[in-house]
Each structure stands twice: as structure tokens, then as C-alpha cells.
């Protein structure tokens, strides 16, 4: 499923600190199925998170979010997280989220903009994240067009599928042209 970057996301904030790591986000060695993972994601930091997180909530974090291994954070989408906003994101976690079209945004200053439990508004088209409680906001980093396309497409595997189909169609039409010439 694609993610429409033009939509504005509003939701309740779950706030976390710096260097939230992938073993805690995705402890799949201990809990190998998605159903089990959903009951345990992030419990190392906040035991109530898996129990109380609701569809549409927003995850806010400090620096270096998703440091550690190349494990993806799909479980966060599965428990209902609508967007992840962080001071900075570890590069593999950022790549993982882009390639699976999980809305993730880097917004320096986000930690001091918002409190846990507050409402937050993420407006990608305008490039801002704002606190509706007091009207303050910080800028979020926009992605280049090529990355936006991956989000819109629903992730890199879907993007690859579409590119491959185009390549096949083109090869086929070239063969037909050749046949036409030779025939």
C-alpha cells in the first residue's frame, strides 16, 4: 500500500529518548511472529507501549532512532503508528522505512516541541511539524522527488515490480518492431 505524502497526519504522541535500538523495536529472536512482536515492541523502554498504543498514534524520538542492526520497523506500523518523527534517524532504519513506505521524518527540534501524550500535526507538503496545543512548529526535512516516488508507490519492492514490468513491456515492443522490419 502506498503512502500519500500529501495528507496531513494528526495524532497522539508517544515520546522516546535517544538511540532507541532495533533489538527493542523488533525483538524477533525472542518473539518470531508478528502477532508476538506486536505484544512486545518497545517494552524495554516503556512496558505499557504495546498495550496502550492506538491506531493513528505518532512516535516521537530523539537522536539516532533505530540504531543497531538492519531489522525493519514494520511492527510499529502493525501496532498502528501513523508516523515516526525524530531528531535524527540511523541510516539503515531510515532506508528500511523508506523502502517499506513507512512514514518517517527527520525534524531537528522535535523533542523540545512536544510532550508525551500531546497531539501533533505533521504537514509534509508544507514541511512542518506543529504542536496544536500552542501553535509552535519545527521544520521537517523534505525528501528528493525520487524518494517521494518510492513512498507513493508503496515501497521499493513495488517500485521494482513496476519498473520490471515497464522493462518487459519495452523489450516486447522492441521485439515486435524488429519482427515488423524483418517480416
Amino acid at each position: 500500500m502506498g503512502f500519500n505524502l500529501k495528507q496531513v497526519i494528526r495524532g497522539r504522541v508517544w515520546k522516546f529518548g535517544d538511540s532507541i535500538e532495533t533489538d527493542a523495536i523488533n525483538p524477533y529472536y525472542r518473539y518470531p511472529t508478528m502477532e508476538e512482536l506486536k505484544l512486545h515492541t518497545m517494552e524495554v523502554y516503556r512496558p505499557e507501549f504495546p498495550r496502550e498504543v492506538k491506531t493513528g498514534d505518532i512516535l516521537v524520538a530523539g537522536r539516532n532512532f533505530g540504531c543497531g542492526s538492519s531489522r525493519p520497523g514494520l511492527v510499529l506500523r502493525e501496532v498502528g503508528i501513523a508516523a515516526i518523527i525524530a531528531e535524527s534517524v540511523a541510516r539503515l532504519f531510515l532506508r528500511n522505512s523508506i523502502s517499506r513506505a513507512i512514514p518517517i521524518f527527520v525534524a531537528p527540534g522535535i523533542s523540545s516541541l512536544i510532550n508525551d501524550g500531546d497531539q501533533l500535526e505533521v504537514d509534509y507538503p508544507r514541511g512542518i511539524v506543529s504542536n496544536p496545543q500552542n501553535g509552535s512548529s519545527v521544520a521537517l526535512r523534505k525528501y528528493p522527488a525520487a524518494i517521494e516516488e518510492i513512498f507513493e508507490c508503496g515501497g521499493l519492492p513495488q517500485f521494482a515490480y513496476e519498473r520490471y514490468q515497464r522493462k518487459r513491456a519495452l523489450a516486447k515492443s522492441n521485439v515486435m518492431k524488429e519482427d515488423g522490419k524483418n517480416g
Partner: protein, 426 residues
């Protein structure tokens, strides 16, 4: 314009053929792709999810894809055996020629052992520690499983050209490995994300003295500092390592004079204390003197960062004169069968076993909750890659990271000690 190593690498591999600078986005041509046990996802499950009826329809180059079933060797459950069986079927179907199947060991070490990666190449792997090949001047980095699907199909991938940080390591190599202490000290001094998304270039008077093993430790751990690449210059040590493993030609990368660095750091290793990362973060650094007397239950040496010959050799040197303390489990896992064999031929394994250590099958298990679990409130000191809470079982267990000498010294003392005490007796 003068270029850093990363700028030169990505300019060389830019599909558009244009010069790129730090900050630019590009589609790059991939020289080599390493897939480990998660290969079944991009080849099969994820491909089907994306719309391909029977899995990935083809691969871009059957000789540039390397599949190594590392994490699950030997398999510990039927579920994992089923996953490995699926990879086997997919490799056969897609005609991938380089497949290390029934060989335990860490994929990264095998890539180096068997000359599957060369200086100057852009190599990706679906594992965060792929950066390790930077030790031999390869532009290597971890990618995601979804990225890997794209690479397997097209041999291309998007990148942002990283800014670069130059780390000058100056001083003299002592007669024991210090790479782990160096990288931990850097994380402690500058923060565990100071190289976020960047390319590390190692330089300085220590570099020519560093073994490939030590370079691999430093490059592998680039990811623990957030880096995209962590590269060493190609020198005589690199050349002799690579040429004894592959006859294929290669073109090393070197930065231009005047290249721009976002940051330069100088570390004098002669002044370096022995350090550990305390639980539960890589950057939670303290000199060993601050944690002296911490009682330990388990000590470990292994992983892609520290399962090398020199890491095991220093442990054997310590155990030649000392025995593992009562109540301590000292577990050693060579990084690969080749490393294991080298240790065996040098007589190290005999010394380790006589000294009371356990030597286990090469692989990634020692660094994960796979082999050697910890019980509640147990303490482990380990020369492996990560010390996250719960990484070895119990959430209340504590994991300290240290160099192989620090670990071996703790194993014989039963508590964290300053390795200088042990060194005096060697």
C-alpha cells in the same frame, strides 16, 4: 574538484556518469551483493508480495551475487531449517553461482577469506556490519532486505553521497590488538552517532601497522557510530591480503589532496586506556579502572568484529599462563572455518581448551540470543558487536563490551581487571 573516497567511489559508479559531491542523490551501479540468511525474503516472500507470481523472476548478474547461509548454521530449529531450504531452492532456481551453504561462519569473514570482495568496489549486503570490507578499501555498506530485492533485480540502488569524517590514528601498535579499545573510545569521546550517515576514512601513523584483522574490527564497527562507509587506504598489507585470495583485477580508491571533510579527528593510541562499553549502549564508555572488580559469569570472544585470528591468539596467550576462573564460562567462536583452521594449525585451540575455554562453531550466534544465553542478573563481558538490553537472553542481564585482551583477562580473574595486570605475567 578534489574528492573524498566516498565521492570518488560514487562518481565512478554513478549510472549517469556525472561527478557527484557530498549531499547529492544518485542511482549507483553495484559491483557485488552479499545476501545472508534473510535472502529468502527478497528472493521469494517479498517478491511475491510485490506482485511477482513465483518469486523474483531473474537476477541481474549470477556472478556478482554471493549467498552465504551464516546466521543459521547449524540450524537450531526446524523453522530455521525450512528457511535455509527455501534459500537453497531459490538460489538454484535463479542460477546464483556463489553459494556457501553447508559451511558455518560469518558471511562477512567468508567474503574476505574467499576473495569475494576487492578494493575499490561498491559492495552492499543485507546486514548492518557489511561496512567491514572497508578494511580492504571496499566501499561496502549495509542495505535493507527491500533494497536487496531491487539490487538483485537491477544491480543498481539509490544512495546519497555521504559527507566524510577523517579519523587520524597516531601511535604505535603494541603486541596485542587494540582496535576494539580505539573504536569504543571514539564512541565515548564523540558520541555513538557522530558519524551518522557519513563515510569514515582512516588515516595516521598507526594505519600501516594495523593488521587486516584490526582494520576489519574498526570498519565493521563503523555502523555503531552511524556510518555508511568506514574505509582504510589500500596499502602493501591490503595488497598481500587480497592477492593471496583473488586474481581478479581491482582499482583501489584514495582521496584527493584538498578533499573536503566535514570533520577531522585525531586519536593518539599511545595514550589510550583500556575501555569497556557498559550496559546497554555502545557509547556508554568507561575506562576499565572505573569498573574494576565487576564480577562476571560469562566472557566471550567472537563475531564479525572480533572473531579473528589475532583476537583468539591473544586469548590463547593469556590462557597459556592462566586458567579460566571457577564459575566463568569463557566462550570463543572463530569468525569462520578458515579462521578456525588457522587457529587450529597454530595450536591455539588446544591451549584454549586446556585453559578452560569453550570453543564453539563459527557463526553469528555468540553475538545474539542464539548461543550462550544469560540468566537473570548475570554479567557478561564480550568482544562482540552489541550490548543491547536482552541481547543474550534475560532483560536483567548486563553486557559489557571490551577488547579481546580485556575479556580474556576478566575470564581468568573472574571479574573485570585492568589487562595490564595479566600482561605483566605474559
Amino acid at each position: 574538484m578534489a574528492q573524498t573516497i566516498a565521492e570518488k567511489l560514487l562518481t565512478r559508479n554513478n549510472l549517469k556518469g556525472e561527478e557527484v559531491r557530498a549531499g547529492d542523490f544518485l542511482e549507483a551501479r553495484i559491483d557485488g551483493a552479499m545476501c545472508h540468511y534473510h535472502a529468502s525474503e527478497p528472493m521469494h516472500d517479498m517478491a511475491i508480495e510485490a506482485g511477482f507470481e513465483n518469486g523474483l523472476p531473474e537476477v541481474w548478474d549470477r556472478d556478482r551475487i554471493f549467498v552465504l547461509l551464516d546466521h543459521h548454521q547449524p540450524t537450531l530449529s526446524q523453522k530455521l531449517a525450512d528457511e535455509n531450504a527455501l534459500v537453497r531452492r531459490e538460489v538454484e532456481r535463479l542460477g546464483i553461482r556463489c553459494f556457501h551453504d553447508s559451511e558455518p561462519g560469518i558471511a562477512h569473514q567468508m567474503m574476505l577469506d574467499y576473495g569475494l570482495v576487492r578494493p575499490g568496489e561498491l559492495v552492499v549486503g543485507n546486514d548492518s556490519h557489511t561496512l567491514g570490507y572497508g578494511a580492504i578499501n571496499a566501499g561496502a555498506t549495509g542495505i535493507t532486505r527491500a533494497d536487496m530485492l531491487y539490487v538483485l533485480l537491477f544491480g543498481e540502488l539509490w544512495f546519497q553521497v555521504p559527507h566524510s569524517v577523517k579519523i587520524h590514528l597516531n601511535g604505535t601498535q603494541p603486541d596485542y590488538p587494540i582496535a576494539k579499545d580505539i573504536i569504543l573510545q571514539l564512541a565515548g569521546l564523540y558520541g555513538e552517532d557522530f558519524a551518522q550517515g557519513m563515510s569514515i576514512e582512516y588515516a595516521g601513523s598507526l594505519v600501516p601497522q594495523l593488521s587486516i584483522d584490526s582494520r576489519v574490527c574498526l570498519s565493521t564497527h563503523g555502523v555503531e557510530l552511524g556510518a555508511k562507509f568506514a574505509m582504510f587506504p589500500a596499502d602493501a598489507t591490503t595488497e598481500s591480503f587480497v592477492k593471496s585470495r583473488t586474481g581478479k583485477p581491482y582499482e583501489p580508491l584514495a582521496a584527493d589532496t584538498g578533499a573536503e571533510y566535514a570533520r577531522e579527528i585525531i586519536l593518539d593510541v599511545d595514550e589510550l586506556p583500556f575501555v569497556v562499553a557498559k550496559p546497554h549502549q555502545f557509547g556508554n564508555i568507561a575506562p576499565v579502572d572505573e569498573v574494576l572488580g565487576t564480577r562476571i559469569h560469562q566472557a566471550q570472544i567472537g563475531s564479525c568484529a572480533n572473531g579473528h585470528y589475532e583476537d583468539i591468539e591473544i586469548a590463547a596467550r593469556v590462557l597459556k599462563k592462566n586458567k579460566v576462573a571457577k564459575g566463568v564460562r569463557f566462550i570463543i567462536s572463530p569468525a569462520s572455518q578458515q579462521v578456525y583452521l588457522q587457529c587450529l594449525k597454530a595450536g591455539l585451540i588446544e591451549t584454549l581448551i586446556e585453559g578452560g575455554a569453550q570453543v564453539i562453531t563459527p557463526g553469528c550466534g555468540i553475538c545474539q540470543p542464539r548461543v550462550g544465553f544469560l540468566s537473570d542478573r548475570e554479567v557478561c563481558i564480550t568482544a562482540t558487536t552489541r550490548n543491547f538490553r536482552g541481547r543474550k537472553g534475560s532483560q536483567s542481564a548486563e553486557i559489557y563490551l571490551g577488547g579481546p585482551l580485556t575479556v580474556a583477562a576478566a575470564a581468568v580473574a573472574g571479574e573485570i581487571v585492568n589487562p595490564k595486570e595479566v600482561l605483566r605475567g605474559l
